[in-house]
């Protein structure tokens, strides 16, 4: 069964000033999330993934299109959907002046949980994220990683079938990031479907399937392994003093499209055999050559024609 079905989703933000035009953040996005999988929405800032997160979490409704969560139409009424989803926002949603327990207690009340049932659920979720002994501490005394785990516990309190997270590990160090992912994988084993947004390639690699978003459009959808396999062969990155000029020469001499956003990059079979040719053809003009297997960034480049996040710099 599909946990989420998104069909032809369009979302337009009204212009903030008269001189500006409305911003179309999503331009007809369709995909499905299968029950029990970890699904990643990967994209650069401004790609549309946050808008998609807010629509999936019922924070606001789309301008057009359809979203079904476990069969319930989000546009027909949010309440049944909200009971089935747990939401973890990117911006901290904890009250630092309250204890961990108090934060969870208030969250439970919002979902109609109270009394002994709520107490038991709080202990259960704190156990799940390994924070039972921190229950009486004020949130302001916790580390960033622990706060994130409390947020996770908050999202899980009412036992949602689908957990939606917005950039769950942004700003966290690698050890904490690994820790959060360990908890997510464990939740998945327990039967929870997980949908998350990320702009981190290595995080997207950990998802069962990903949707890559760029400028409000879906540019790729599938398992990270399959998407990378579509590229085939190797990817060669060249660092040079003047990459534009070197790129033009490479294209002329070796008839190969090679420059992306001012960087020299080529996709080919048996890249290792090509490197000596390249080095000898342009002596003294190359600083370094890197050969690697295709990554998700390469998938992004192939689908969009530009590097991941470089548009942000321009904007």
């Amino acid at each position: 069964m599909n946990a989420v079905v998104v069909q032809n989703l369009i979302h337009t933000y009204p212009a903030k000033r008269r001189s500006e035009s409305p911003h179309q953040a999503l331009q007809g996005v369709s995909f499905q999330i299968q029950e029990g999988e970890i699904f990643g929405l990967l994209g650069p800032n401004g790609g549309g993934k946050s808008t998609l997160f807010h629509i999936l979490s019922t924070y606001f409704q789309p301008t057009q299109g359809q979203v079904h969560v476990f069969g319930d139409d989000v546009l027909q009424g949010t309440e049944p959907v909200r009971r089935k989803i747990g939401v973890v926002f990117q911006a901290p949603g904890l009250d630092s002046k309250l204890t961990v327990y108090e934060n969870l207690k208030h969250q439970g009340h919002l979902y109609g949980l109270y009394g002994e049932i709520l107490k038991k659920r709080i202990l259960d979720v704190l156990g799940q994220v390994g924070l039972v002994d921190r229950s009486a501490e004020f949130v302001e005394t916790l580390s960033g990683g622990m706060k994130r785990r409390v947020e996770l516990a908050k999202g899980l309190l009412h036992q949602p079938k689908l957990l939606i997270l917005d950039e769950p590990t942004t700003g966290l160090d690698p050890v904490v990031r690994r820790d959060i992912w360990m908890h997510l994988k464990e939740l998945q084993r327990g039967g929870t479907t997980i949908a998350l947004t990320t702009h981190l390639m290595d995080e997207a690699e950990l998802c069962d399937r990903i949707a890559i978003l760029n400028r409000g459009r879906l540019v790729a959808l599938g398992r990270p392994k399959d998407l990378k396999a579509e590229i085939g062969g190797d990817v060669i990155w060249v660092e040079a003093e003047d990459p534009e000029k070197l790129g033009a020469d490479v294209e002329r001499l070796l008839s190969m499209k090679s420059t992306v956003d001012g960087t020299l990059r080529m996709e080919m079979e048996r890249g290792s055999e090509f490197i000596p040719r390249l080095a000898s053809a342009f002596p003294g003009r190359i600083k370094s050559i890197t050969l690697r297997n295709p990554s998700l960034e390469d998938v992004f480049i192939q689908k969009t024609g530009h590097r991941f996040g470089t548009e942000d710099l321009v904007l």
Binding site: S57, F89, K97, N103
Partner: protein, 252 residues
């Protein structure tokens, strides 16, 4: 229905606990009005009308305490909505009415908790609050707490920044209080000020308090407007603010 009350209460309780745990906020809401009252009241003394100004200014100070507390409490909505606890409430299976009730009752209760101790200072200023006035004073306190809590909610819900809220406070809320009879009576004011004052719902609350407080057996105000009208306007103001907050919260 139980879910509605549980969620409303939890939002309200959270407001109370958070406020009480931040001593600076407690002091910030209670101390300045009391200091204003004491300094302005003592400074003007008997130079203003026949009555002691500490006595005249007493009802205005009550409304100022309620205004400050309600406003400081609702101001948190601005940040909470985009990055905070309120985000979770907005995606929980709740109606927006629950959020409005929870927030306003929290702000209102806090305002009440701050205003009540000040009432105990009344005998020190030579003001007597007879038992027959207790009901009207209680009604006015509750109506003002809910009304100003609602007004705070309404403004905070529409605004994007706390700086904007401070601007509104200086431009709109403080003048609203100034032109309520808190500092001076309508009778001696310029005609346009009198018109504004009689259109201001706070004027009726202040008048209601003035008619409920007695000095040497005489109420602070001898205005022909009855206490019933003062109560009716105050309750209508509270209802209008709650209604407008619900309308605003459901739209956005």
């Amino acid at each position: 229905m139980r879910h509605f009350w549980l969620a409303s209460w939890t939002l309200c309780e959270r407001e109370l606990v958070r406020f009480m745990r931040q001593r600076s906020r407690v002091i910030g809401a209670f101390a300045p009005p009391v200091i204003f009252w004491f300094l302005i009241g003592s400074g003007l003394g008997h130079s203003f009308r026949d009555a002691n100004y500490l006595q005249y200014f007493f009802p205005g100070t009550i409304v100022l305490i309620i205004l400050f507390t309600a406003i400081f409490s609702t101001i948190s909505i601005i940040e909470d909505r985009h990055a905070g606890f309120l985000q979770s409430a907005l995606v929980a299976p709740l109606s927006r009415v629950t959020i409005v009730t929870g927030k306003i009752s929290g702000a209102g209760l806090l305002a009440l908790v701050h205003a009540l101790p000040f009432l105990f200072l009344a005998p020190l200023a030579g003001i007597h609050v007879p038992v027959t006035s207790w009901l009207s004073v209680a009604c006015l306190l509750v109506a003002m707490s809910i009304g100003l809590g609602g007004l705070g909610f309404l403004l905070a819900w529409r605004l994007d920044s706390t700086q904007g809220f401070h601007a509104i406070m200086n431009l709109f809320l403080i003048p609203m209080w100034l032109l309520s009879g808190a500092l001076f009576p309508a009778s001696g004011a310029a005609r346009w000020v009198r018109i504004v004052m009689w259109c201001n719902p706070l004027t009726y609350a202040i008048l209601g308090f003035q008619k409920s407080f007695f000095v040497a057996g005489v109420p602070l105000s001898l205005s022909p407007i009855s206490i019933g009208i003062c109560l009716a306007v105050s309750v209508a103001f509270a209802a209008a603010m709650v209604g407008a907050s619900i309308f605003s919260a459901q739209r956005t």
